[in-house]
């Protein structure tokens, strides 16, 4: 955090009392932020990150590593387009290999942002204000990574526009009855809405950056980006209305995207894919992995950029609780699937599940079950869910587990289908592995740019949950007359 003498804020004179933000004491609501924050200090702290003159060396190192990864991914994609999908491990019977696994993985990651910005907004969760901008940015970058895989998966990438129902003289239309097409609509609608939500929410903060900007370039860039925001009462009124409406519209999208992704599998008759719990189970899993990624990124970011007083242990603890809750939902779905596979009495379905747990991919299944169901159980203990190292470890494992979940679903069911003579063991190629690894490069490149140039915390929103914004509100009941 760089605060020059000129911008040194007049810190609040009222010293914030030392409080335990993690307190579960029902007689009080602990403050959402720690330290002596006021409206000025929050602006200074958040803008200071984007305004610092010299970019820290650590940022350059991380950026170089990310760009390298991204370059590897694009090189692999170029190689793929030049040679065809034969460079992947995909083949009969596993025609859907890593690209689809990676697609579902990244779309899943991209679920936390809109959940935090839309659903938690409707639930009046004030704590979301410290993390929503960050999580929404992560969402958009994850969706960018996700979008690449189905696009290159079609083989002839230059024909990708055929995915969209574009009127044409040949009367050639995509198959509207295919969930793969619904995916195109669901994911692009989600990407557009998330982007709009994120950007609209950022306009007042961009205007703040514009007003504080020193150089011409910054003034013009932030000036264009803030779209003439003046902060008048009328603008705020419309902004709040639009925000509420967008939140309402984005809420069903949080459910619909991963539900439609689950349809890709569940509408088929493949054992292990065709089961009715898939839509809500996929949504729970997506939120699970999305929150794990937010925590994984947030822990180093708040440390590195000096945001510990805005994103407190309380925020992290709540996210860990959500991870535990959604992890249990995922565990519930695993258990019910297993039970119904037995209860249904269909021998193919029974085989599919026994094969998952005891077949040649048992290692993948048990990696998934351990990472997604067992490891998050640590979060039952307050000591562990408020320990940064434990949090970090669990969240990384959750992300590993959620990748394996998609691998288990996609690959295991296909590798042993109805016809034993066509069974095969899927092996990824180096191109598969490098493309996926490189996609993290793209993700982190975008993310580092965001951290460097845009307001990482929604300043305007955070200020509304400061105690100063509610001065004079006593909400305590008197002792009852008895």
């Amino acid at each position: 955090m760089v605060i020059t003498a000129a911008t040194e804020p007049k810190r609040a004179h009222v010293a914030a009392p030392v409080v335990d933000v993690l307190s579960d004491d029902p007689t009080q609501r602990p403050p959402l932020m720690t330290g002596e924050n006021d409206f000025t200090s929050i602006t200074d702290d958040v803008c200071g990150i984007a305004e610092r003159e010299a970019t820290p060396r650590a940022w350059y190192i991380a950026f170089a590593a990310s760009v390298t990864g991204m370059t590897v991914m694009f090189a692999m994609l170029g190689y793929l387009i030049f040679n065809g999908v034969g460079v992947w491990g995909n083949n009969q019977p596993v025609a859907w290999g890593w690209p689809i696994v990676n697609f579902v993985f990244w779309v899943g990651i991209g679920h936390a942002g809109t959940l935090i910005s839309a659903i938690l907004f409707l639930f009046r969760q004030g704590w979301r204000t410290s993390i929503n901008r960050f999580a929404e940015a992560m969402t958009i970058f994850a969706v960018c990574c996700a979008g690449i895989f189905p696009a290159v998966h079609i083989g002839r990438v230059w024909m990708a526009y055929y995915l969209f129902p574009i009127p044409n003289q040949m009367e050639m239309w995509p198959n509207f009855r295919s969930p793969l097409l619904w995916d195109v609509f669901a994911v692009s609608a989600y990407a557009l809405t998330s982007l709009m939500f994120w950007y609209m929410g950022m306009i007042p903060d961009l205007a703040t950056l514009r007003d504080r900007a020193k150089g011409k370039v910054r003034q013009i860039a932030y000036g264009i980006a803030s779209m003439g925001w003046t902060g008048s009462a009328r603008q705020w009124h419309r902004y709040e209305k639009a925000y509420l409406l967008l939140a309402g519209l984005a809420t069903p999208l949080v459910l619909s995207v991963h539900s439609v992704v689950s349809f890709d599998f569940a509408v088929s008759q493949v054992p292990g894919w065709h089961t009715t719990i898939f839509p809500p189970y996929f949504v729970a899993g997506a939120i699970f992995s999305g929150f794990a990624m937010v925590v994984t990124l947030m822990i180093p970011a708040r440390q590195f950029f000096g945001l510990k007083h805005l994103v407190t242990m309380k925020h992290l603890e709540i996210m860990c609780k959500i991870i535990l809750a959604t992890g249990m939902m995922v565990g519930y779905a695993y258990a019910i699937e297993f039970f119904i596979a037995w209860y249904g009495g269909n021998p193919y379905e029974r085989f599919a599940f026994i094969n998952r747990a005891m077949g040649p991919y048992a290692w993948a299944y048990w990696t998934m079950a351990t990472c997604n169901v067992l490891v998050p159980q640590l979060f039952w203990f307050k000591k562990l869910r408020t320990n940064l190292w434990v949090m970090m470890g669990v969240c990384i494992l959750v992300n590993v587990g959620m990748w394996f979940e998609r691998f288990v679903i996609t690959v295991i069911s296909l590798s042993r289908d109805f016809l034993p003579s066509s069974w095969d063991y899927f092996k990824p190629t180096a191109v598969d592995v490098l493309t996926f690894a490189g996609s993290f490069g793209l993700f982190f490149t975008l993310f580092l740019l965001f951290c460097r140039y845009l307001p990482m915390v929604a300043m305007a929103e955070v200020k509304t949950v400061l105690p100063q914004a509610h001065a004079g509100h006593g909400l305590h009941a008197e002792e009852p007359a008895r």
Partner: protein
């Protein structure tokens, strides 16, 4: 934000309903009489026993799901440390309080399975078992004794949870001890887990196994969604009732109705989402062993019941409850609540009755007798529980927050 609030806790005498015990006893007597009438009709009418069992199951599951909804509401309020809902929480506690009795009323449909009576649960019929290979595969799970054990576990868990939470909440009225709240906050998470598992398997056992050859992994979630809709509809109606009587006047305000309305709307949507997921995947997959269940619900007049659910349980209330104006208008909200409560009944009817009358929807005198009989017992218990106890958790640490609550 709104202006400064000066909130004072309500007086105990004002929020404590009285004179309900007598009415409660009357309802119990009336209910018991109608239950007897239902049984008599069951013996007298042609094929009456089968209808009696179906009608009884419908009536009991309707009120069990209301109780489960209440339990869910109470647990979740503690789990998420909610403040706004304290003034309506006692109503949900009382609803959940019906679970031990309603659970006991499941025995009349469980015990016949022990004696090979397959009129309700066809899997219990020894002839069916002898002929069906599929059923033999499922017999380790679908057998009378194991069902009895499982139902005892479900009802036992619910009873324990209800007692643990309700007793502490009531005790806090006298002591104002925040450690009660802390105790419940700590136990809320594992309790929700126990709740989810018992509700799921309750739904599998009592409802899904009516067509023992059919299965659906989402079924537990479906029944949960319906229960939540019914709960919020009931909470709205109960709050209005006691606002009218005076106990909750000035305490449950438009703001609370607005929030209850939002949750009602949200769960209408959630129910629609879950129902669609189940239907669409089965329709699209087109596997006969799964589609048969929806096929049965599309035969004859069942088709109209299915369509009624689509419109009455989802599309119409979705549009109807969308507006903020409706959620803040007591009579409009109440009309939607009444409709949705009815639709929950229709939903359970649609789940249960096609095995009784596959040729088309039919309603018998016995169904009404069962419903009003069990309903009388339910209401009798509810009024007696409500009588003489504060209807607002008087010294809940978050009561002030709830009394001063405003939507923005």
């Amino acid at each position: 934000m709104s202006a400064h609030h000066h909130v004072s806790a309500p007086e105990r005498t004002r929020v404590t309903p009285s004179g309900l015990a007598g009415r409660g006893r009357l309802a119990t007597l009336f209910g018991a009489a109608l239950c007897v009438l239902a049984v008599v009709l069951g013996f007298v009418q042609e094929e009456g026993m089968a209808r009696l069992q179906h009608g009884w199951l419908l009536a009991v599951t309707f009120f069990v799901t209301l109780g489960l909804g209440g339990l869910f509401f109470v647990l979740v309020q503690y789990l998420v440390r909610a403040g706004w809902s304290v003034v309506v929480r006692r109503l949900a506690e009382h609803l959940a309080g019906s679970l031990p009795l309603m659970g006991l009323l499941l025995l009349p449909v469980v015990i016949p399975t022990l004696f090979g009576n397959g009129q309700l649960y066809h899997w219990a019929d020894p002839h069916e078992l002898a002929e069906s290979h599929l059923l033999q595969e499922k017999a380790p799970y679908l057998n009378g004794w194991f069902l009895l054990v499982r139902v005892a576990i479900y009802v036992g868990v619910w009873t324990l949870l209800v007692r643990a939470f309700n007793r502490r909440s009531l005790a806090q009225d006298d002591t104002g001890d925040p450690s009660m709240t802390i105790w419940m906050q700590k136990r809320a998470a594992p309790s929700v887990l126990a709740f989810a598992l018992t509700l799921t398997f309750f739904a599998f056992d009592m409802l899904m196994s009516l067509s023992y050859e059919w299965f659906s992994t989402i079924f537990g979630v479906y029944v949960f969604a319906g229960s939540a809709v019914a709960l919020f509809a009931t909470l709205v109606l109960l709050a209005l009732r006691f606002e009218g009587r005076g106990e909750l006047r000035g305490i449950v305000t438009t703001e609370h109705y607005h929030d209850l309305g939002k949750l009602l709307f949200a769960f209408v949507f959630f129910w629609g989402y879950i129902a669609f997921s189940q239907f669409m995947l089965i329709w699209y997959g087109d596997i006969p062993e799964e589609t048969v269940w929806f096929q049965q619900r599309w035969v004859g007049s069942w088709k109209y019941v299915s369509l009624l659910l689509l419109f009455g349980h989802f599309l119409l209330p979705f549009v109807g409850l969308l507006s903020r104006h409706v959620k803040r208008n007591r009579s409009l909200l109440a009309s939607w609540a009444v409709l949705l409560l009815l639709m929950h009944l229709v939903d359970l009817y649609w789940l249960i009755m096609p095995t009784l009358s596959p040729e088309g929807a039919s309603i018998g005198l016995i169904d009404f007798a069962c419903l009003s009989g069990v309903g009388g017992l339910f209401l009798g218990g509810l009024w007696r529980r409500i009588d003489g106890k504060p209807l607002v958790p008087l010294r809940d640490p978050r009561l002030g927050e709830s009394l001063a609550f405003q939507n923005l």
